[in-house]
Symmetry: C2
Subunit: 132 residues, 2 copies
Amino acid sequence: MSTAADPLLAVHSTDASPDAAHQHDPAALALIKPRLLDAALIESVSDVFKLLGDPTRVRLLDALSHGERCVCDLAVLVGTTESAISHQLRLLRAARLVRVRRVGRMAYYTLDDHHVIGLLHDTRKHVEEGRS
Amino acid sequence: MSTAADPLLAVHSTDASPDAAHQHDPAALALIKPRLLDAALIESVSDVFKLLGDPTRVRLLDALSHGERCVCDLAVLVGTTESAISHQLRLLRAARLVRVRRVGRMAYYTLDDHHVIGLLHDTRKHVEEGRS
DNA sequence: TTGACATATGAACATATGTTCATATAATCA
DNA sequence: TGATTATATGAACATATGTTCATATGTCAA
């Protein structure tokens, strides 16, 4: 899998499109535009990342990567209120990143998608590579 | 690489630790606690995800996944002001997710880390799998 | 039933965040 | 030089977001 190297050879043409203020490479734009992700997908994808973009939720998922845990234990591991944890788990549940199993008055949470562990791992790699 | 299956066999013991309000499985917690990611790494990882958690920036990265682009073309592809784009590119640059190459008064941006394409791809997969 | 417990949730508050507008920098051209 | 172009950036504003506190729901024990 090598990087897509698009032609960057187009000269600075005097553009004539009516809507755009100005464009450097109209030909390349026309080629790329239809290949971009559609609005709904963009929104969904960024929503998932938004969920991962909070320390408390990353801690939660990191804790859950070691196996199923109840809310009270997650609160201890994450170091926050059970209320705060519960609010966050609700969001993660809605996005199907975690799943509940209820036993009596306990609620046991697990990761519902093992892509998540991969995402955490890859991002960690990015961060660690940057510590030059 | 299979999922780590931790023992969940501990009985509901009457806990005696002084700081925690209550714990369900103290033995498992003691085992897991030292294996959790440290605070600084959690923060860095969630910061990267936070950057990916915005539609405009996902659009930017998606556009850049098709090759190097100048700011004005990115503005057209993303459908926003060049000012807004520039603000976002600044953030992405600071996180070393994109890189600039300056030619005259133009600024050409590229992805600086190809993990990012993988992250986008995997998250897209998660989203698409959920459309049941 | 009564009380204690585990979890869930709504409202409110403080903080963070993305865009807009104005302006700055820096390069190209007349 | 002066005008125009491409990008960058600061301040301000409106919106979004995470936690806290109070309370609700449902479970178990006595």
